[in-house]
Assembly symmetry: none
Homo-oligomer: 195 residues x 4
DNA sequence: AATGAATGAGCCTTCATTCAT
DNA sequence: AATGAATGAAGGCTCATTCAT
């Protein structure tokens, strides 16, 4: 029942792991982590729950694998940032690239944004938090005014939240991203000058 | 375990509903809505699960009641805002009061912030969304530049997220709130002037 | 909240027991015994569950009281029947009166008919069964042909079931009852002659 | 309690679904639908409740599956009946076969008979009612005398109820069934001639 | 590479019942 | 004559997970 000799099943072979990730991310982003059951994922893929366990040891491992696969660019970005001088130019470049990285993995970040309570209890929670601290250290001058520190954090949050909140707003997504980026850059710049 | 005839139980009488709300909010904010079971709430209060059902018809009704009880000030604020002229002064006043309202019910807003996926599926989701749109309509000039619109949204989000993110930061909470408010006010002001 | 000085509540005084019975019978007949909760009964009456317990010791006692109050005529009928000679005339008279007794307490008998499994486990089950055996002894000649015995049982069942099954049929209820009675009488008469 | 490594468990494999149906029907017929809990069924089978849910999506689905599996002959009979001329011979044949069909699935019909209130609220209620109407249309001449219509209904009910009521009576079950059938046939015949 | 069958823990919810007031 | 508050038991159901095949 479901793809017997028309190639549907054959074509699937070998990429089940990927397909699980795709469906899982879609559902996690849509309904949240706890409200998405493995049964639901399995049913959408037309396989059994046990099949999921062939590819992933636990439910958590699915989200972990997604996180690892999709946030590598950000890891790299932070690594790169650490080795640059903390000039305004560097900061602006970081923000620019960060905005792009978020857009490239937007379903994952939507998930992280909307399931913070859950993420915090998952193993990726710690990792993610560390990454945020990494970004902060690059962008924020610890000697800066408290207000300027807030500006930097606000810049990051504007990028994070912006994308999901603005779904209801009219206009081309890429254009919106640019606007968000501009505001974030502005905040960073003000903060840098303030210091 | 807890209050046999020393008055503990007597003092409890008549305020169980309130106590349920208190404990529930604490746990919801800490662990999330789905991860908090009614068993857990009941145990903390040293009553049975059935007792919760005497006071609330469903689990959802608990969070709904909290939302209704704690967000009235914001409802009022929006109502007030609607009747004012959309001057810069008004906007700044709105932001100032909003910041205060958030701080006054900060555990609830932490919960809403960290459980967006869940909240969206609850009946309060719609209500909350409408409230956000209400704020937006007061603060954002629809003819404004897209960038300025983003500034306004960013201002709101900075206040929302700010409080929870900055828990890790050093410093007096009230001072931090002031800093956040300053950044938000700044964003609103820039947006207003841009238009 | 609910009838303060308009007489609604005053008029109720003293007949709450009766009102409980009325509502309970209505709901039991409509939805069955197990599916009707005391909460539901209480809500319909606009009193608390505890009030029901002031008037009846248990849920079962409500149905027991209804049974006792409403089936006295049948008890009497059987008593009378026992003392008559077992002539055809007597039997026909019994059937006639039985039909009337059923019609007079039809919601109760509908309930008994549709909740046999439940009734069997209740204390009224035994009583009711004994009554049926009483009727049988009066109407059935133990020496009669098996087929004639079945005719008698069929007569009783036709009266029992008839009334509820024929609700869907067109026609005046009293006319239908007459038709049912005629068939039952017929069966009894055939059985009597066969012996 | 039951099957450790002596083959009991092995023999079970592959027929659990059937075993659930068997036990469920037995308990439903004995105690009624609502009074039979899934825990009870599971315990009798020495499996967990969750195992039941592997085979049936809900409690209702268990009774539905039993109904579907066991009443096919009656469905067929009605289909056959519809295509025959409505002669006396046909009607008598229908009644004969119906009596047999009831006897073949007598625990199910005992259940349906004794839990009418419950059945009415279940999805099988509608189906069953339609079937009864189907039988009625074949057997009853709509132009007939009301009394003759009652005779037909009485015939059906005599067969339904007869089997369970007569358990207390002495005598061989098959002989009793024959007697019941004779009375039912008689009623149908009288009704046919009357018209 | 995946299935069929099952488990143990837990969830939300409902119920009949109790008792001090 | 009735309420407010609570309980203990149970119910149906879902979930992540396991394991032999």
């Amino acid at each position: 029942m479901g793809g017997t000799m028309d190639g549907t099943k054959q074509r699937r072979r070998g990429n089940t792991r990927q397909r699980i990730q795709d469906v899982a991310l879609e559902l996690f982003a849509e309904q949240g982590y706890e409200k998405t059951s493995l049964r639901e994922i399995a049913e959408r893929l037309d396989v059994t729950k046990a099949a999921l366990y062939y590819h992933f040891k636990t439910k958590e491992e699915i989200i972990v694998s997604l996180f690892e696969d999709l946030t590598q660019p950000i890891e790299d970005l932070i690594e790169w940032g650490r080795q640059q001088p903390h000039t305004l130019d560097t900061k602006q470049e970081i923000v620019r690239r960060y905005s792009q990285a978020l857009a490239d993995a937007s379903p994952l970040f939507r998930f992280m944004q909307e399931n913070q309570a859950t993420v915090r209890e998952l193993s990726i929670g710690e990792t993610f938090k560390n990454r945020m601290l990494g970004m902060r250290d690059i962008i924020i001058d610890p000697d800066a005014d408290l207000v300027d520190q807030v500006r930097c954090i606000s810049a990051l949050f504007t990028m994070h939240a912006g994308m999901f909140v603005m779904k209801d707003l009219e206009g081309d997504p890429e254009e919106k991203r640019k606007a968000i980026l501009e505001v974030a850059t502005d905040l960073i710049t003000q903060a840098h000058k303030g210091a």
